[in-house]
Amino acid sequence: MEKDAGGSIVYFLSIPQAYKNDLARIRQWTNLKAGFDENIIWIRDLNYQQVYSTEVRSIPFATAYYEKGNQLYLLDRKLPERNVPGLLWTPIDRALPVKLPSLNHNYFGIHDTISITMVPSDRETDAVAMIVSLDVLSHYIENAPAVRLEKIRWAVLGSNQAFLLGTPLLPIPGTTVWSRKDLLFPTGYDFELHSVSDVIQKKINPGRDSWILWDTDNSYQLISKESLVPLSRSSFRVTITNPLQQS
């Protein structure tokens, strides 16, 4: 993260107790610490970027200070305003716990459903597996170095595709896949609501004995973990020439 010129200036924030809920939007910054004075909540350890960020500047009734020599100065002022308060500092996510609203007996939306959709995601992830066509794989594997194959486990998908799990990926064209636990997504895609991953994982795959391979059209297929076998030239040749032996 970019540092301020001084490198070590620490910023403080104070806000009256009454506006405590406005701190919700900066609660996610885990480097912050909070302390409770009588009527004021103090936040310390903000950095330069944070103190000038939209999140902080849009908190009403908050006052920002910078600290020098154990004294607090208002931003852009040269005269000290007060001393650093001597408080018990706790990490902000523990100091301001999230409370669930009490049960709403008048809520009738319990039959609502959400649909699972895949959307392009700009989060960078490492590919752990790939799906290639059997033709491409058979061309590669005939003269592939064994050291590249032995890290890979594989299974045949449908009639003409192979699923290759393991890195380093093979240098052949195919669809790459990344994983969140046992869910596998095409690279560049994620659930629109990615927090439902755990629920889906438990619902589809309670024993965690399968990989759940999602496609961009929101469909999925299960690949039993036991059905994956180490990839080798002989494994590939035996599978292709005697497809019935697989079962």
Binding site: E142, N143, A144, P145, A146, V147, R148, K151, P168, P171, S232, R233, S234, R237, V238
Partner: protein, 233 residues
């Protein structure tokens, strides 16, 4: 005699199939191939023709199973080389245990391979010769000055594809037959990587093939290789 060799693990689904047969030579070779251990069933240096044919048949089946694992362009089975190597391993094992001859006569007891050493012969002979380095180690533990050791070392220098796991003097190796077959060159490279033999990897002949095998993943697949070989600019 009962040795366990930890090398080139393979499936054991044919185990015991050959154990019921009254052919000590075949029993020993099958035990070696399937359990990677030497079992001798008596002191018999002489091998009869039907016994030998049974062993060749067994080795041909083994070869055909291994060819599945070879890169494309693998050569056909070489019966003479397989037969020679099986007898050699059998007799060398016998000589490790029962030694009634003078040291000078040892050389005459081991069979000699008279045909051309091509890729087919190298791969077929390797079915049995790959166990020689482990046998050599055991012999070295028993007696480091055994004259049989010298003979086995000479053999490994000549059939060095089977001797990659042993520390051979690289300057003495004849790499001609290796280069002439692309399948054998690939297998040779794979065995160098499998045994992590940096000395062989430094040889200009293998440097490029190993580099091509590892690609940009040298760090994860074989860390020492990068440290030993001068990195490309």
């Amino acid at each position: 005699m009962h040795f366990k060799f930890a090398m080139l693990r393979r499936s054991r689904h044919l185990a015991n199939l050959y154990m019921a047969i009254d052919n000590q030579f075949l029993k020993m070779i099958a035990q070696l191939r399937q359990h990677e251990e030497v079992m001798l069933y008596g002191n018999l240096l002489h091998v009869t023709q039907p016994d030998l044919e049974a062993v060749i048949h067994f080795l041909e089946q083994e070869y055909n199973r291994e060819v599945l694992q070879y890169p494309s362009g693998a050569p056909p089975f070489h019966a003479a080389a397989a037969s020679w190597s099986a007898q050699l391993v059998y007799k060398a094992a016998q000589l490790m245990l029962h030694r009634e001859n003078k040291p000078e006569d040892l050389r005459a007891l081991l069979p000699v391979f008279t045909q051309e050493q091509n890729d087919s012969a190298i791969l077929s002979a390797d079915l049995c010769l790959r166990f020689i380095p482990a046998m050599r180690e055991h012999l070295h533990v028993i007696d480091p000055e055994d004259p049989l050791l010298v003979l086995l070392d000479e053999l490994l220098i000549q059939w060095h594809y089977s001797g990659i796991s042993a520390a051979l003097d690289i300057s003495k190796l004849d790499l001609g037959p290796i280069v002439s077959s692309s399948a054998l060159l690939t297998l040779y490279t794979e065995r160098i990587i499998y045994y992590r033999k940096t000395e062989l990897a430094k040889h200009p002949l293998f440097l490029e093939t190993i580099r091509a095998s590892l690609g940009i993943y040298g760090d994860t697949l074989w860390k020492e290789f990068k440290d030993v070989i001068i990195p490309e600019p």
